[in-house]
């Protein structure tokens, strides 16, 4: 299924990655082999505050897990979704309700309806993209495994990677 380029826009992605501090991961699994766990581990390692949202767990990766977005006490910048596409609409409604800044739907979580809801609620939307891969793309590490970052620049990076 094709995803609108509007929901995979490089500038939007970079802005979200740059500005976000808290990332609520909906469907974060405690299983270290699941994609959601990879992303949670990575986001924590790179300085984001990870907030697990998983009603079946009390704690994941050492962080308190909440049954739903509405139960999170503080502010949430990014709502990162690892759920069936069918569950995305409900998550989008909740993300709008808690005033999150961005709705990020991971690989395969494709829902135009969820995207419309989030957009109408003033959130940035990213769809069928991985938070970890996009972060690694722009800080340069993804390049180390031969992936096409599409980054073209003649400038020396201003900070150590």
């Amino acid at each position: 299924m094709r995803v609108s380029p509007e929901h995979q826009d490089p500038e939007t992605i970079q802005r979200i990655l740059h500005q976000a501090r808290t990332v609520a991961i909906v469907g974060l699994s405690p299983n270290e082999l699941r994609a959601s766990n990879f992303v949670g581990f990575y986001a924590d390692r790179h300085g984001y505050e990870v907030i697990p949202v998983n009603p079946r767990e009390d704690e994941i990766m050492g962080f308190k897990s909440y049954p739903s977005l509405a139960d999170i006490p503080g502010t949430v910048d990014v709502v990162d979704v690892f759920r069936d596409p069918g569950a995305a609409v409900e998550v989008a409604l909740q993300a709008v309700a808690i005033n999150a800044r961005a709705l990020w739907l991971q690989f395969g979580v494709i829902s135009d309806e969820a995207a419309e809801i989030a957009k109408a609620g003033g959130l940035d939307v990213v769809m069928d993209r991985c938070f970890k891969i996009e972060h690694a793309r722009y800080i340069g590490r993804m390049h180390w495994l031969g992936f096409n970052t599409r980054v073209i620049t003649g400038r020396r990076p201003g900070h150590l990677l």
């Binding site: 500038e11 031969g146 096409n148 400038r155």
Partner: protein, 433 residues
């Protein structure tokens, strides 16, 4: 929506990407050329980082059999030029192909391949697949229905060259890709002869592209190498590829497609196949390949221009019965060339001498500038008699299928002054007359 602090990204052109893709200035030293990272291994920041790298939870360098920053720059450059999601480099073109196949196949599977392939590839497929207990059917690639007719329930991939070596068959990529996708399997294309400058198979529906970088990508005949690029579009979780989709026993149960999405195949190709089979590209070769790729578009334009001139000149010689260059307007592949190779049909082609095998060998002895050797895609012009060299292991039937006769001569046209190349061939004709 645009953040005014950020420069908008641009869709850079092919020449720009040939020079820049994958090669940002080195952050620690500022080195503009990509340094040759001649190191086997990399010091970990701390034990947690080491574990994260080995678990693939973080992208990091561990050991140069699996990744190396110089090789990575070459990989990203080729991946970028092919319009792929990324690439993995190998010690040779054949190492790249075998790794691409090994990652996808299990015993009992079946492959349909073009019969008009580089002889070394034909040999590789026959022997490698027999040892892997993988079935193999060669088809005449020119009619898409031949591909369809050869499919079985076990067929797991289709394989062909964009421009066949040395017959010059141009693959009708779009319908063959559609046949593959109708069967829920990928089309793998060897794009060595076209290079991404002349054709990008992924744009036409191919899923995986392999290269012998030894040829035009390197371009100077200095190094052996290969690379596999992936579109990232194929759905490995369609039920037909448990080898990619299921939890991997070779990587503590990691499910590569589920965890890495479109990147899953390349991750598995690197983290398992390259790790286990070990045919890694050396950083020094990667450096030379990158130098080559910087001038790829310039060289290909000159290669093609010289090839067209020589092919047309040979067509008019009485000693020559046929010139099989898909870039000639009377070629049977002319309409496919216009569609898939509008900038030219490469610079490798065959012609047949009326006088047969003996004349073929005499002609090769008689040239001055052309070097008699078993390679193509060098800046220098090359010549060979395939029936007695590159395709020697093939039987009569296989030779015919590959478009090779006893008097067939293969040229790889270089970037010299074309008048000098014509002079050389003219003198050779005079000498064997």
């Amino acid at each position: 929506m645009q953040n005014p602090d950020e420069k908008p990204l641009r869709s850079f052109g092919f020449h720009t990407r040939s020079v820049h893709a994958g090669a940002r200035p080195e952050p620690n030293t500022g080195a503009r050329a990509v340094p040759i990272f001649q190191t086997t291994s990399y010091v970990f920041e701390d034990p947690e980082s080491a574990a994260a790298y080995f678990n693939l939870q973080e992208y990091g360098n561990t050991y140069s059999r699996i990744m190396n920053p110089t090789v990575a720059a070459f990989e990203e450059r080729v991946g970028n030029l092919e319009g792929a999601i990324g690439a993995v480099a190998f010690a040779s073109g054949l190492a790249a192909q075998s790794a691409a196949f090994f990652t996808l196949l299990n015993p009992g599977d079946h492959v349909v391949a073009s019969a008009a392939l580089y002889g070394g590839t034909v040999t590789q497929l026959k022997h490698l697949f027999r040892k892997m207990s993988v079935g193999l059917t060669f088809v005449d690639p020119d009619a898409p229905e031949n591909w369809k007719a050869a499919l079985t329930d076990e067929t797991k991939l289709l394989f062909a060259e964009t421009i066949g070596n040395p017959g010059g068959n141009v693959l009708d990529i779009e319908p063959v890709a559609a046949i593959a996708h109708g069967h829920d399997i990928p089309l793998v294309v060897d794009n060595t002869f076209a290079t991404p400058y002349l054709c990008r198979p992924i744009d036409w529906g191919a899923d995986i592209v392999v290269h012998s970088a030894t040829k035009f990508l390197g371009g100077h005949g200095t190094s052996i190498g290969g690379v596999v690029a992936d579109s990232g579009e194929f759905d490995w979780s369609n039920g037909r590829f448990p080898v990619i989709a299921d939890p991997s026993p070779a990587y503590h149960g990691l499910a590569f497609h589920q965890t890495f999405g479109g990147y899953g195949y390349l991750m598995k190709l690197r983290a398992e196949t390259l790790r286990d089979l070990g045919g890694a590209m050396s950083p020094f070769n990667a450096f030379l390949f990158m130098q080559g790729v910087e001038t790829l578009p310039l060289r290909m334009e000159r290669h093609v221009a010289n090839a067209v001139t020589l092919a047309e000149w040979l067509r008019d010689r009485s000693e020559v019965t046929a010139v099989r260059y898909p870039g000639l307007d009377d070629s049977p592949y002319s309409s496919l060339t216009k569609k898939y190779l509008p900038k030219g049909a490469g610079a490798v082609f065959c012609f047949d001498l009326a006088a047969g095998r003996q004349a073929g060998q005499e002609f090769i002895r008689a040239v001055e500038l052309f070097s008699h050797l078993a390679n193509v895609g060098d800046a220098k012009s090359l010549i060979i008699h395939p029936a007695s060299t590159t395709h020697r292991q093939l039987d009569e039937e296989e030779l015919a299928a590959a478009g090779i006769g006893p008097g067939t001569i293969r040229l790889s046209v270089g970037i010299e002054d074309v008048d000098d190349l014509i002079w050389d061939l003219e003198e050779a004709f005079a000498r064997i007359a």
